[in-house]
Symmetry: C2
Subunit: 443 residues, 2 copies
């Protein structure tokens, strides 16, 4: 990663956080010699052997575990490097998928954005350093692919898709009448009164239209991003450290710049504030709220987990890991209007509110060119395309993509060398549309 080459002495945890936060801001490093196959962690041999050779080790704190190509291993192994909290499933409620595998999907071709050359589905998997890809059509698995570090049993970093869990739970609370989206944040979390968030509404936090004086200028050692990542690291602090401890203390230091509601600004700290609001409102730690409102009901096969700060606070902005199939179960519940196996387990109104989307003009100020015409609502990305598609998205290529018209849920887990999804959208979003068209053509 470019900024890592410039800053070899930054700790890897900082790098992890930065990568989570910089969607859209990082320029691709040019000319990486490693492609999908040669960077495959099974080919690299990372951490193979008892013990692994020193040159094959990926460890805390200074081996850059979240920089390419090591990240291709690390996305499946965060819990072995960091403290985590459990997101508990129901041990007696795994609901197996029905399968209707469709070999036709591998023959789908499409035109990448700004390109005249067709690309095959298979080429897109490699181009995007795909670790796993699941497609559900009408609730059945029509396509399932694993590569790199991933297997059907392996949890993978969801990165900023975590935010969509956070936003969905907040939306559930709003729909249930347990959380007032028009309330000021200070009325729920008085500690945030002096901060930028104090006079923002819950909805402005949910849609990231807060006006924050928040610098992500990595060249400035006093930039907020550095203070944030130091505060959030669960690794022991330096003896002379006197900055904020953990997410909650850090959030109180964020200052305002401008007027809330004017524009979309993609800043992870909003998700952390929303996680705090969820904890205060429900009386549950964030990971327990994910259990209670989602993971306990979805018929998932595996516990999920989430990284924590030094006080055990879950990283609501990006810390979740889960399996490909279980993320598919989340998407299928969304597609099914909040129902799981016919039972209404999430309020339909919460799903509707997300699907309707947010303000497109406000969103346009965020500068996401590959998502032009879209919006951001309750921490989900709404495409406002003909099919009404919307998605959870995380850096390095993570997505849960829901196409209601095609009755399709697509989950991709990936370890693309560059964090910014703007680099991977051109060979992804048209591919998803092409698969949707193919599936609809079968109806």
């Amino acid at each position: 990663m470019k900024f890592m080459d410039n800053k070899p002495h930054r700790s890897t945890f900082l790098a992890l956080l930065i990568l989570l936060i910089t969607s859209g801001n990082v320029v691709a490093s040019e000319g990486s010699p490693l492609n999908d196959e040669t960077s495959d962690p099974r080919n690299m041999g990372w951490m193979v052997g008892f013990p692994p050779e020193p040159s094959l080790r990926i460890t805390q704190p200074d081996s850059n575990y979240f920089s390419f190509p090591k990240l291709r291993w690390s996305v499946c192994h965060l819990r072995e490097l960091l403290p985590t909290a459990r997101v508990r499933r129901n041990p007696y409620l795994a609901i197996p998928f029905e399968y209707a595998l469709d070999g036709g999907i591998e023959r789908v071709t499409f035109s990448p954005m700004n390109s005249n050359n067709d690309m095959t589905w298979q080429e897109s998997l490699s181009a995007n350093y795909t670790d796993g890809l699941l497609i559900l059509h009408k609730g059945k698995v029509v396509y399932e692919y694993y590569s790199g570090c991933l297997s059907e049993h392996t949890l993978h970093a969801a990165m900023s898709m975590t935010k969509s869990f956070t936003g969905l739970i907040a939306q559930i609370l709003v729909s249930n009448g347990e959380l007032d989206e028009t309330a000021l944040v200070s009325s729920i979390i008085p500690e945030l009164s002096p901060s930028a968030f104090g006079d923002a509404t819950v909805r402005q936090v949910m849609n990231m239209t807060t006006a924050l004086d928040y610098s992500e200028n990595y060249a400035d050692p006093n930039a907020d991003i550095w203070i944030y990542s130091k505060a959030a690291s669960p690794m022991p602090k330096a003896p002379d450290y006197d900055g904020p401890e953990g997410y909650f203390e850090y959030l109180q230091t964020v200052r305002k710049k401008g007027s809330h509601g004017d524009g979309f600004g993609y800043k992870t700290v909003n998700s952390d504030v929303l996680g705090w609001i969820i904890a205060r409102t429900t009386g549950m730690a964030f990971e327990d709220a994910v259990h209670h409102y989602l993971w306990d009901h979805l018929g998932v096969e595996n516990d999920a987990y989430i990284t924590v700060d030094g006080l055990g606070t879950a990283f609501a902005g990006g810390g979740l890991s889960a399996t490909l199939r279980d993320l598919g179960r989340l998407g299928q519940m969304m597609l099914d209007d909040g129902k799981v196996n016919g039972l209404q387990l999430v309020p339909e109104e919460a799903i509707d509110a997300i699907r309707r989307g947010g303000d497109k003009e406000v969103f346009a100020k965020g500068g996401f060119t590959t998502l032009a015409g879209g919006s951001y609502q309750s921490m989900w990305w709404i495409f406002h395309n003909d099919n009404g598609a919307y998605a959870a998205r995380g850096v390095h290529g993570q997505t849960v993509y829901i196409d209601p018209t095609a009755e399709m849920v697509l989950v991709r887990l990936a370890s693309f060398p560059v964090s910014a999804n703007s680099k991977i959208d051109p060979t992804s979003l048209p591919a998803y549309q092409a698969v949707a068209d193919y599936l609809m053509s079968k109806n």
Copy 2:
């Protein structure tokens, strides 16, 4: 803890390891003012709130998280403080227990060792700072109790009961013919040739009759125990650290003193060597071997997890956490000669080999006065009593106690202030026998 008061600047991870290793060697601190109820973490308020008050925080690295009374919280939360590896269950194979609860157990009384005053069952639970207690009789739950940090869903530190998992898996490999118990360790792990373990047999490691020049003198800053715990810590090393990295490197430095086979010496490093032998023999990381040989088949309700060193190596000597019920499922499989729901999932010969026990004379040299007449076989404790009972045991009161004659499995998870089980056996082992007598009287 006495040694912690003397060494306030030792890191907490060192303390954790020491407590794991010092069974039988630590003297009880006298006059602790906190009893079971007043030290209950729910009463102490540890980590309550978003965020918890500073005085209620339990964190890395210096808050002594594994000293009483904080350990009463920490035994249920190790993964939130340390990196861990997953011990995967089968998501579709949770086998619920049948229940036949028996209120008569609460009316059982017994005479503690060296005492003329009867104690009630309920008094023993409090006296022993019990977090959870499960009793199975003829395969059905007759008693189930949760307190402190524990619930039916909560994983609790198994401490040195981990060793019994390690020993059982090695015994399975021996029974399967995949591991030769008469082989020298050096023939399996050449790196250990120069160490004390090189010319020990696998069986000597399995039964801890290796002759080790291994000091646990905490007053000596150069004692092996300090070097071991520094090597094993997953927390970042000091910049000037040049000692061994991880369990595997450390084990190569242990030197011999005396002749292997002469006497039982309870040293955790034997279990770490055995974990290494298992990894080399099976080609699986230790946590995957636990999955493959045990956790995948037992019908458990929850994944387990295990702490790791800085290279991701699982702590085969003490790092496991699991739920009360799932440990009960392990015990029931042992009681049922390796069968689960009538299917032979562990070789009966492996269970038989453990039950038969080891050499009593060799064991007597280990100095475990509360276990006089017993033996240690494949990292299980054999009582050689009339009922043929045997157990997994871990510091601070952990046990899986199997009484074949009474057809009883008893699991206790606890957070007794002192690590040494010799302080807790007098009010425990007679209680187990009394319950066994009660259950047999119903037949």
